[in-house]
Amino acid sequence: MQLYRSHVLVCGGTGCHSSGSDDVIRVFNEELEKHNLQDEVKVVRTGCFGLCEVGPIVIVYPEGAFYSRIKAEDVPEIVSEHLLKGRIVKRLLYHDAVHEDETAKSLDEMEFYKKQRRIALRHCGVIDPENIDEYIAFEGYKALGKVLTEMKPEEVIDTIKASGLRGRGGAGFPTGLKWEFTAKAEGDKKYVCCNADEGDPGAFMDRSILEGDPHSVLEAMTIAGYAVGADQGYIYVRAEYPIAVRRLSIAIEQAKEYGLLGENIFGTDFSFDIGIRLGAGAFVCGEETALMASIEGHRGEPRPRPPFPAQKGVFGKPTLLNNVETYANITKIILDGPEKFREIGTEKSKGTKVFALGGNINNTGLVEIPMGTTLREIVYEIGGGIPGGKKFKAAQTGGPSGGCIPAEHLDTPIDYDSLIEIGSMMGSGGLIVMDEDNCMVDIARFFLEFTVEESCGKCSPCRIGTKRMLEILNKITSGKGEEGDIEKLETLAKTISSSALCGLGQTAPNPVLSTLRYFRDEYEAHIRDKKCPAGVCQALLKYVIVEEKCKGCGLCAKSCPVNAISGERKSPFKIDEEVCIKCGACMSKCPFRAIEKK
């Protein structure tokens, strides 16, 4: 095998991919060839490094130089300066990747990575996900070998139980117990499934794991198959994740070639196979019973439980269903032992959790933190704070099923139980940060709009109830709210959560309930004073020209699409409120910032 003196790791995750990392890789290869370095320097496309905000990211080893926002035009300089002459191109380094004395920091020293603990993401950004050998080099398939040759199925289950691992899909059910239920269920055939139908707006944890480390999921599913007595696995992934699907298919191909999937794995009498099932992107298919219906080829609609999947799952057979991130933890637990895993986290939530940081935050990206880390640490240390020095207002966890966490709870340690206590939930890991410019009523309306759109329509509380709630919220945000609307919302919310068929419906009112709990005054301001305190809801805003600042240039009048602005040049202009459609065009055109919205 060729030994290279330097490796250039280019992120090939979805974020960096869409900001042009493919071009970067192409130019790297061209330039290396031009300088005749192709036998000394290797270019590797890896999974997500997590710091998507400053992508495309390039790391050059052995120096560990962390380059950020690399464009194809920057590559010739890196090749001729760094790779040929050994001079790191300082201007292209990520600002937090250099010490004061200008030497490169290792990843653990960077503010963004310092508080992180990468278990599920341990290989993301380190290995080439399309090369099984690299996965094996980092102890891949060793856990499977150990399980098949040294452990009984019961021992595997006991190990997982002892680790305290809980489902990372959101509900937090103890994983070991789920495995045990499925193992004990009677059936001639059993299935192991992986839920990769990640649907929360803004969430991309599972996607990044599948793109960056597909083998870890395959290996864990095979281990699960051995533990529960299944010989067939299905990964249910949405078709809108093309890179993840492609890398998964390659990984399955390679594992089969090596005999790590298929008949008689490691010379034992255990056989296991994995197939991919593509989902069309319906949110409800992330719900376990709907997901299984979809795998079978039926319409993705939930059904009442019990029977639970462990008794009656795919094709009516006992089925184990875990989320991608849950699987990504398994091999580490087997190799290092459950005690090691238990050391991380809080009393009832062990290990780490991956979050997709988004919204108004400096370091948008993917972070993995030990359970018990506070929201303040995530937002202000790892996340680098809020752009423009704005004030933190709330963070939304759990997507459309979760709730918001206001500033007063910034210091709550994040784990399954503490989040439920403050009216939110862990969810699959989307974390959207909102600042003072976000209207909480509008946020609730946004999430409800999503659930209304995604409701499968099978049960009436969800189909009709969420729609009614959305209508009330639309009324409030358009300035037509009346006394009693809040109470109506509350009654509807309670009815829906107690009567809907599946998790999607039961949790749909959560964003409304939690914003009502912490930001009731904003709802009241919308209804009583017809004002949106954050200045978001268009219908409640008024655009006015500040006379003192207006120079009478007339640009605003020219840009107004409905001719609502009039005045004479060189004297202050005026907006006719009756005609104004509140599009904001004038405000963005005014060179003197003389137009304000109130």
Binding site: K85, G86, D133, G259
Partner: protein, 125 residues
């Protein structure tokens, strides 16, 4: 895949090529590759290091380069950093010298005194 041994073999083989990506503390060979170094023949020296290290499976040795160190008249210059020991600077390097340095110094821990900057300055007097 029929056995754990087979897996271990693949692991070992590939690890050599990927463990460059982990933060390690071990022997580092730094070749001066400023304009002066390149002009004096640093590239064949660098390639010789890679070849020797490859041949001997020394997978914990890093070969990297740096810019001009400042004594351009003694190029090609190579510095060898071993953890816990003082850095050794070799001057006027050639591919032949590389082979001896790898076998004596890097593998057996015996600094090749006659090639070091100290020895050269002595002679020069």
């Amino acid at each position: 895949m029929k056995s754990l041994e087979e897996l271990e073999e693949i692991r070992k083989k590939t690890l050599e090529s990927v463990n460059i990506r982990t933060d390690r503390k071990n022997t580092r060979v730094v070749v001066g590759m400023g304009t002066c170094g390149i002009a004096a023949g640093a590239r064949p020296v660098l390639l010789a290091f890679l070849e020797e290290i490859n041949k001997r499976n020394l997978n914990d040795v890093i070969v990297t380069q740096t810019g001009c160190i400042g004594v351009c008249r003694l190029e090609p210059i190579v510095e060898v950093y071993t953890p816990g020991e003082e850095k050794v600077t070799y001057v006027k390097m050639t591919p032949e010298k590389v082979r001896k340095i790898v076998s004596d110094h890097i593998v057996n821990g015996q600094v090749v005194k006659e090639y070091t900057i100290g020895a050269y300055e002595e002679q020069d007097k």
